[in-house]
């Protein structure tokens, strides 16, 4: 006799953890399978010497505070874990350097202050910035409505309540900002966060970026004092305490499909579990490419995967420094360094190694040291193309050299003498721990028809195998902590809907 579950969640990343807990809280019998030894996927931490490094979280958006709650805060409350999370609001938005053009901008928190500062940097930008913010509000509301109606909105409601949303929805960030008359420089400064979504202004959906940056500026992102591992752990412990079954070190080898419907899974160690509902917190590439018997893989699924581009590969340099932020002379939390502020030019440059572009975060570590994390993205398989078994260590170190040099050049702060610990993560590291194709950390590239809205609108049509849904960075809300947490809940609720329809 094989054990049967109402639902099986494959992968305990952000999406999988929230999906599993959501289902369990609805009284379902849930099995969560994770091939690693700890929950969270990339949402984890590791220790070197006296430093506990956050593995991947820069800033958690849509969180806010108890007085000004964001969607993720409310989600955590509903899941019963909010009181256990130690979050700290980031007081400013970002500081950005352009090395080639020798520019520097630092932007404050809050809509009014943000607009005022932009006007100071780019006189004449005020009106377009105000238009931008009012569009952001409408987009946000409309996306909420779209989500509530599960991608089937009523045209009349959209027309009457969110007409401008419908107008901007099919366009890229760059197209819309130009059209509303935003000066070029202001567009560039405003687009600074583009690397957080991994797609340049000409490719990225306006709505997606607008919704993200709006919550950054108005709600204040947070960092997690006990690292993102605290959320991962709390979610998994809560799931288990409600009777959910978690099996670590248990990867899935096969998803069983009969007559176009899910019937169960077989694990790497050949255990069989039965279910009619699977939520996969892994890539469709793996699921359709490796986990389902070839004759059971729908042609449409193969076509879909073949038309998508893998998102950014990541390089992270984790530095434990024996000086505080103040001693180093770094007052902000988030720094961006680019060669220029033109995201399309930079996107192209980032198709090759050693481009020097980075997003940095720095926090104090106790009273006499700090942790600096430098993250850089690579596109078009720039890393995999060059790397071999023989040159791997050398490339890894050169990437770190390049990023440290770039950060030092931008900030005029010397790091070299303060480095007490260093760890470098490459796409190989992310492939090792996450298992995603080419070690991508960003799911699929957000571009054209693979942007947020088309993904959300067609999600139901893309359930090619009955009972099989996807959550996490490869799913409809794309990458990022807040998106994957929220997406985990949404996919769980859709699965509950599927169960009701049986």
């Amino acid at each position: 006799m094989h054990r049967e579950f109402d639902a099986i969640v494959i992968g305990a990343g952000n999406g999988g953890l929230v999906a599993a807990l959501t289902l369990q809280k609805q009284g379902k019998k849930v099995l969560l399978l994770e091939k690693g030894r700890v929950p969270g996927g990339f949402a984890t931490s590791f220790i070197r010497g006296r430093f506990e490094f956050e593995a991947s979280l820069h800033e958690l958006c849509e969180y806010g505070t108890a007085e000004n709650k964001g969607e993720v805060y409310e989600l955590f409350e509903n899941l019963g874990i909010a009181q256990k999370i130690h979050a700290k609001v980031v007081p400013e938005t970002f500081a950005v350097y352009a090395l080639k053009t020798n520019e520097f901008y630092e932007m404050p928190m809050g809509e009014e202050a943000f607009i005022a500062k932009m006007e100071e940097y780019v006189p004449g930008s005020k009106e377009s910035m105000q238009t931008f913010f009012s569009l952001c509000r409408e987009v946000k509301e409309a996306l909420k409505y779209l989500n509530e109606t599960k991608g089937h909105p009523e045209t009349e409601v959209l027309m009457s309540k969110y007409p401008r949303f419908m107008v901007v929805a099919p366009y890229s960030l760059l197209t819309v900002l130009k059209k509303i008359g935003m000066p070029k420089k202001a567009i560039q400064i405003l687009s600074t966060y583009w690397t957080y979504l991994g797609s340049p202004a000409s490719k990225l959906s306006f709505c997606h970026y607008a919704s993200m940056i709006y919550s950054y500026i108005t709600k204040g992102p947070v960092t997690l004092e006990n690292r993102s591992h605290e959320v991962s752990l709390t979610l998994s412990e809560e799931f288990a305490s409600l009777g959910g079954v978690v099996k670590y070190l248990t990867g899935v080898k096969e998803i069983l499909v009969e007559n176009g419907e899910v019937t169960g899974v077989i694990t790497q160690d050949n255990q069989k579990f039965l279910t009619k509902h699977i939520i996969a917190n892994i890539s469709p590439n793996e699921v359709y490419g490796k986990m389902i018997e070839k004759e059971n893989v729908p042609v449409k699924a193969k076509k879909l995967v073949s038309q998508r581009t893998l998102g950014a590969q990541g390089v992270c340099v984790y530095l434990g420094l024996n000086k505080t932020k103040e001693q180093l002379g770094l007052s902000k939390y988030a720094y961006f360094v680019y060669e220029t502020l033109d995201s399309d030019v930079e996107f192209k440059r980032m198709h090759s190694l050693y481009n020097g572009n980075l997003a940095a975060t720095i926090t104090d570590n106790g009273e006499d040291s700090s942790i600096l994390c430098l993250t850089s993205l690579l596109f078009g398989n720039a890393f995999s193309r060059e790397v071999t078994k023989e040159n791997y260590f050398a490339i890894k170190e050169q990437l770190a050299e390049d990023l440290i040099t770039s950060f030092e050049k931008a900030t005029h702060v010397s790091l070299r003498d303060a480095i007490e610990e260093i760890e470098i993560a490459t796409p190989v590291t992310f492939a090792r721990y996450g298992g995603h194709p080419e070690g991508t950390i960003y799911g699929y590239l957000a571009s054209g028809s693979d942007n947020l809205l088309p993904r959300v609108m067609n999600e139901e049509k893309e359930v090619y195998i009955k009972g099989l849904r996807f959550c996490g960075g490869f799913s409809s809300r794309l990458l990022g902590y807040s998106s994957t947490y929220i997406n985990g809940r949404d996919e769980a609720m859709k699965t509950i809907g599927d169960m009701k329809n049986e």
Binding site: S45, A169, L304, I419, E423, G439
Partner: protein, 382 residues
């Protein structure tokens, strides 16, 4: 008021919005119906660098001193051993009397030659004694790794390096001294190598040969139990360290535990910042523990076992004795592989390498945990 539009007019924009889904469908329809690509270079490389386990043949055994032997391990399940950095270790699985023991050993061979790994073992406990007495050329072993962070970084570390070895602690440094990466990136390296007497100096010939060929490499041997005119005498103390000079040097320590404490204290006294000091992984056995008997319950993935344990032995030791499976790799509470949740019971443990959030939820590393009562732990062992 003028119409808000992006394209020709708002109506067209809205139509475009409505067609986003159809547009996506069209693009998908043009996709390839061939079987999907399943091989990705970064993932393949990740598996090559970090195999789940390696089957090796003991191709050669060399007696280094009266109580020390080197084992040359050639790959059976791979074409070549995975690349590693000098200073990394492997975990060797040794089956004695149907019990599986896992022990970490530094690789003592050159990272430039991946046709084998060499490990060098001094006879001390049950496992090392077995290795020296029972393992013969041609035997097959399973190993895990390579792992570890006791490595030189040209970004983090200084160009002038001091390696301090005590006894069999020389093993990782043997790999350093044969690493082209290390030798290329430094200006100078001084090896201070302490042992009881001349016969206990492992690798002396090899070291002397390297030093004679490479002007960057200097060596000083110090004997603690043998007074001879051609060797320094005593321990590696403040006076000797001052004489060598510590200014702007990265200092790497590898040797017995008392040596770490003694030298660390001395370096503190000399105001050397932590950044310049790195040491091989080690653990301290707590004092004043008795042999009080308790029971240990281990909730594994699909079964629960209850076995005896005692106050002065780690939980991992008790599990090994009971022939239970373990997830241990480093054995000194650092690598995190054996991470377990303490469900009940009192313990004495070292939680310096437990994540902050894990501390709050009572996670422990059983390889450095001693029971003070009956204990129940949970760990994902199959």
């Amino acid at each position: 008021m003028s119409e808000f539009k992006i394209g020709w007019n708002a109506k067209m924009d809205m139509l475009k919005f409505k067609n986003l889904g159809e547009e996506r469908e069209k693009i998908i329809a043009e996709g390839s119906s061939k079987d999907l690509e399943t091989i990705y270079k970064s993932n393949t490389l990740a598996n090559l660098l970090h195999p789940k386990g390696i089957k090796v043949k003991v191709s050669k055994i060399v007696k280094e001193t009266d109580n020390t032997k080197s084992f040359y391990l050639e790959p059976m399940s791979l074409n070549a051993m995975p690349p590693f950095m000098a200073g990394e270790y492997i975990t060797v699985l040794v089956k004695i009397d149907n019990r599986i023991y896992k022990r970490p050993y530094s690789i003592s061979s050159s990272p430039d030659n991946l046709s084998y790994y060499r490990i060098t073992i001094k006879q001390e406990g049950v496992v090392s004694t077995y290795m020296l007495k029972e393992i013969a050329e041609g035997d097959i072993l399973n190993i895990l790794g390579p792992f570890g962070h006791f490595t030189y970084s040209k970004i983090r570390d200084q160009k002038d390096v001091l390696l301090i070895a005590g006894g069999s602690g020389i093993t990782p440094f043997m790999s350093y001294l044969q690493s082209s990466y290390f030798l290329k990136n430094i200006n100078s390296v001084t090896l201070l190598y302490g042992a009881k007497n001349e016969f206990e100096l492992i690798f002396k010939k090899e070291i002397d040969a390297i030093a004679s060929q490479n002007p960057k490499v200097k060596v000083a041997y110090i004997l603690s139990e043998e007074k001879r005119s051609d060797y320094e005498y005593g321990f590696i103390d403040e006076e000797k360290l001052r004489r060598i000079g510590l200014e702007n040097k990265s200092i790497f320590l590898s040797g017995p535990v008392p040596m770490y404490f003694y030298i660390s204290e001395t370096l503190k006294k000399l105001d050397i910042p932590n950044k310049y000091i790195r040491h091989e992984i080690f653990t301290e056995t707590p004092e004043n523990l008795e042999n009080k008997q308790f029971t240990l319950t281990v909730k594994m993935l699909d079964k629960t076992i209850t076995i005896p344990c005692q106050e002065n032995e780690t939980l991992i030791t008790s599990m090994e004795k009971a022939r239970a499976k373990t997830l241990v790799h480093c054995t000194v509470g650092i690598c995190g592989f054996c991470r377990s949740k303490l469900l009940s019971g009192e313990v004495k443990t070292d939680n310096s390498h437990i994540r902050m959030a894990d501390k709050e939820e009572n996670y422990i590393h059983p390889c450095v945990t001693y029971p003070l009562s009956d204990v129940v732990i949970e760990v994902p062992i199959k």
